[in-house]
C-alpha cells in the first residue's frame, strides 16, 4: 500500500493535472509504479461506491470479533447471560481475576522470551545463508528449495521427534530450549522472506566491495547488512509473531507454568470445568495487546516484509 499525495490544484476537475504521486511507504521499489491512483478518477461512480461498500463490510467483519472480546472482558456473568450488547457496568473483576487466578503475566513473559530468542536465532542462521545464496551464488536454487520445503510440511510431523530430541537434550520444559527450537523452526520462513531483500541489492555494490579488498564477511557485515536492514527488521518482527502465536510446539515442549506460553496457558484455562467467559476474554486480550502494538507501530515493516519476500 502506498500513501498518495495530491499534487497540483486540489479538487481540480481535470484528472490529468491532478497527477497523483505515490510515495513508497516501506515498500519494495518495484511497487512504486502504482497505477491505482490514476485509475480512481476514471472509475464509474457505481464501482467506487461498490468498492467502499466492500471495504466497509470487510472492516466490520474484521473488527466485530475483536470489539466483542473487549466488551466481554468488561461484562459481569449476569450481563454475559443476558442479551445486552454493552455491559451494564464495567466489570473490572474479570481483569483482576485473570491476573490473580491464572499466572497470565508469567505466561506472557515466557511467550515474549521464547519469541525474542527464536527471532534472534532465526536471523542469525538465515542472514549468512541468504548472503551465501543471493550474493556469493553458493548452493543455488536447490538449497533454497530444500530450506523452504521444510516449511511446507505441517508442524505435527516434527512434533514427536522434536519432543524426543528435546527430552534427550535436557531442554524439556525450558523457555530457552523452546525459543531455540522455535528459532530453528521459523528459519525457513526467514530465509524465504529475506531472499527478495538480498537479491534486491545491485550487483555492482559487492563488486565494488570486492575491488576495495573486502572479504565476504566484511562485505556482509559492512555493506550488505545495512542495505537489507529493513528486511531484517521486517523478518525479525514476523518471526517473533509466528513464535509468539504458536501453540502446538510449546504445547508439546512445555509442562509447567514456569515455561508455558500464553496460548498454552489460555488453552489450559478454557479446559477447566468452570469456564469464566469474562476472565478468558481479559486473559486473551492481554495476550493480543503485544502483537497488536507491533501491528500498530511497525506495520510498514511488516507489510513490506511480507509482500517483498513472498510475491515472486
Amino acid at each position: 500500500m502506498s500513501t498518495t499525495i495530491e499534487r497540483g490544484p486540489a479538487g481540480s476537475a481535470d484528472a490529468a493535472t491532478t497527477r497523483a504521486m505515490t510515495v513508497p511507504d516501506g515498500q519494495p521499489p518495484r511497487a512504486r509504479r502504482a497505477s491505482s491512483a490514476s485509475r480512481i478518477g476514471r472509475a464509474p461512480r457505481g464501482i467506487v461506491v461498490l468498492k467502499w461498500a466492500v471495504i466497509a463490510i470487510a472492516i466490520g467483519f474484521t473488527l466485530l470479533p475483536i470489539l466483542y472480546l473487549v466488551t466481554m472482558s468488561f461484562k459481569s456473568p449476569d450481563d454475559i447471560l443476558s442479551t445486552r450488547i454493552l455491559p451494564s457496568r464495567i466489570a473490572w473483576e474479570n481483569w483482576a481475576s485473570a491476573f490473580e487466578q491464572a499466572p497470565v503475566l508469567v505466561y506472557l513473559r515466557n511467550s515474549l522470551i521464547a519469541a525474542a530468542i527464536a527471532a534472534v536465532v532465526a536471523l542469525a542462521v538465515a542472514i549468512p545463508a541468504n548472503f551465501a545464496m543471493a550474493r556469493l551464488r553458493t548452493g543455488g536454487s536447490r538449497s533454497m528449495a530444500l530450506i523452504v520445503s521444510a516449511y511446507v510440511a505441517p508442524p505435527i510431523v516434527a512434533v514427536i521427534p522434536l519432543f524426543m530430541l528435546v527430552r534427550t537434550a535436557g531442554l524439556m520444559d525450558n523457555v530457552i530450549g523452546l525459543g531455540l527450537i522455535e528459532g530453528l523452526m521459523v528459519t525457513p520462513v526467514a530465509v524465504w522472506l529475506l531472499d527478495g531483500f538480498f537479491r534486491g541489492i545491485p550487483e555492482e555494490i559487492d563488486e565494488a566491495a570486492q575491488i576495495d579488498g573486502c572479504g565476504p564477511v566484511r562485505t556482509l557485515v559492512r555493506i550488505v547488512l545495512p542495505l537489507v536492514a529493513p528486511g531484517v527488521v521486517a523478518v525479525a518482527i514476523i518471526a517473533f509473531i509466528l513464535v509468539y502465536n504458536d501453540f502446538l510446539i510449546p504445547l508439546m515442549l512445555t509442562q509447567s507454568t514456569a515455561s508455558q506460553t500464553l496460548p498454552v496457558g489460555i488453552a489450559l484455562m478454557q479446559g477447566g470445568r468452570e469456564v469464566m467467559f469474562g476472565q478468558m476474554a481479559a486473559a486473551s486480550l492481554t495476550g493480543m495487546i503485544p502483537v497488536y502494538l507491533l501491528a500498530l507501530f511497525l506495520q510498514r515493516w511488516l507489510v513490506g516484509g511480507l509482500t517483498q519476500g513472498s510475491i515472486k
Binding site: 500500500m1 502506498s2 500513501t3 498518495t4 515498500q27 518495484r30 511497487a31 509504479r33 502504482a34 497505477s35 491505482s36 491512483a37 490514476s38 485509475r39 476514471r42 468498492k51 466492500v54 471495504i55 470487510a58 472492516i59 467483519f61 473488527l63 470479533p65 466483542y68 472480546l69 447471560l81 442479551t83 542462521v125 551465501a132 551464488r137 553458493t138 536454487s141 530444500l146 530450506i147 511446507v152 510440511a153 505441517p154 508442524p155 505435527i156 510431523v157 514427536i160 521427534p161 522434536l162 519432543f163 525457513p188 563488486e207 570486492q210 502465536n245 501453540f247 478454557q270 467467559f277 476474554a281 486473551s284 495476550g287 507491533l294 506495520q299 507489510v303 511480507l306 509482500t307 510475491i311
Partner: protein, 304 residues
C-alpha cells in the same frame, strides 16, 4: 533467479565457494534438526511399536500402516483435512481478492485500513479460537443472542456442537484470520501492475468488467496461484482452532489429520500408529501441493 554475468561469477568463485558453504552450514543444520531428522525418525518409528515412554519397543513392519488405514478414523480425518483446507483456502483467496481490488479507493486512508486488516492475521490462533468460541456459545454468545432478539424463545444454534455447523464455523474463523494475508499480498501485486496497460484498455473503450477479465486477472493470476498455494499449506497445518473450539468434535466431525495424529500420539500414546498417520498425511499434502507448485512455476516462466 537473477542472472550473473559470467565474468563476475568467475571472479567470485575461488574464495566465494568455500566460505559460501560455511555461511550456509547453520541453515542446513537447522533443516537437519527440524525437518530431515523428524522425517527419518517418523519413517523409522512408523515400522515399530512405540510409545512416548518406550520408543522402538518392537519392529512390526507395515502393521501400523495396515492398522491406521483400516481404523475408520485416519482415512476420514484425511478427508476432513481436505474438506477444511480447500474451502478455507479458496474462500480466503476469493474474499481477499475482492477486497484487494476494492482497496485502491481507500489508498488515502491507507494506514488506518492497513492496521485494521492486519489485526486478525496478528491474532494468536488460540485467542482467535477463544473469541469465536465465545461468539458461537449457545448461551450468552453473540450469534445466539442476536437470534433471541430476532425470534425470542428459539432453540439456540449449536454452532460448535452439531454437524456440519462445527466444521463450517471453524472455516469461518480461519477465513477471518487469513483473508488479511491474501489482501496484503494481492493488493501489493495489483499495485505493481503497469499503469500503461490499463490506460491502453481504457483508450480501447474496455469497460470495468472487460478490463478486469482481460487485463487485471491474467496479470495477477501467478500471484493468485502463489497465494492459494501458501494458504493451502497453512490450512493443512490447522490444529489450534480445532483444539480450542471443538476438541475434534462433535464426535469426530472436526478431527482433521493434525488433530488425529496428536490424539493418537498423546491421548492413545501410540507413537508408531501416529507416525504411520503422519506419513499418510504427508503424502496427501504432497499430492495436493506439488501440482499446484509446478503450475505456479509454469505460470511464472510464461510471465517472464
Amino acid at each position: 533467479m537473477a542472472t550473473v554475468a559470467p565474468e563476475t561469477a568467475a571472479l567470485r568463485k575461488p574464495r566465494g565457494r568455500r566460505i559460501g558453504w560455511a555461511f550456509l552450514a547453520p541453515a542446513f543444520l537447522a533443516i537437519a534438526i527440524v525437518a530431515i531428522y523428524p522425517l527419518i525418525y517418523t519413517v523409522v518409528v512408523s515400522f515399530s511399536e512405540s510409545s512416548l515412554g518406550r520408543p522402538f519397543a518392537e519392529w512390526v513392519g507395515f502393521d501400523n500402516f495396515a492398522k491406521v488405514l483400516s481404523d475408520g478414523v485416519t482415512v476420514p480425518s484425511l478427508g476432513r483435512s481436505l474438506v477444511f483446507a480447500i474451502p478455507s483456502a479458496l474462500l480466503a483467496l476469493v474474499i481477499g481478492f475482492v477486497i484487494a481490488l476494492s482497496l485502491d479507493v481507500a489508498v488515502r486512508s491507507g494506514k488506518v485500513v492497513r492496521v485494521v486488516f492486519l489485526l486478525p492475521l496478528m491474532t494468536p490462533p488460540v485467542m482467535a479460537g477463544v473469541i469465536w468460541k465465545l461468539m458461537f456459545a449457545p448461551t450468552g454468545g453473540l450469534f445466539n443472542n442476536v437470534l433471541q432478539l430476532v425470534s425470542p424463545g428459539a432453540d439456540p444454534i449449536l454452532f460448535l456442537g452439531s454437524s456440519p455447523a462445527a466444521m463450517v464455523s471453524i472455516v469461518v474463523v480461519d477465513v477471518w484470520q487469513w483473508v488479511p494475508f491474501c489482501v496484503l499480498l494481492l493488493f501489493a501485486a495489483l499495485q505493481t501492475l503497469p499503469g500503461e496497460v490499463f490506460e491502453a484498455a481504457q483508450v480501447d473503450g474496455a469497460g470495468v468488467w472487460r478490463t478486469f477479465r482481460h487485463v487485471t486477472f491474467p496479470l495477477v493470476l501467478p500471484t493468485l496461484v502463489t497465494v492459494l498455494m501458501l494458504k493451502l499449506i497453512v490450512s493443512f497445518k490447522v490444529f489450534d482452532l480445532v483444539f480450542i473450539m471443538t476438541g475434534g468434535g462433535p464426535g469426530l466431525d472436526t478431527t482433521v489429520s493434525s488433530f488425529n495424529i496428536y490424539r493418537t500420539a498423546l491421548q492413545q500414546f501410540d507413537v508408531g500408529a501416529a507416525a504411520a498417520q503422519t506419513i499418510v498425511f504427508l503424502v496427501l499434502v504432497t499430492i495436493v501441493i506439488v501440482p499446484l507448485s509446478s503450475y505456479r512455476t509454469r505460470l511464472q516462466k510464461a510471465g517472464e
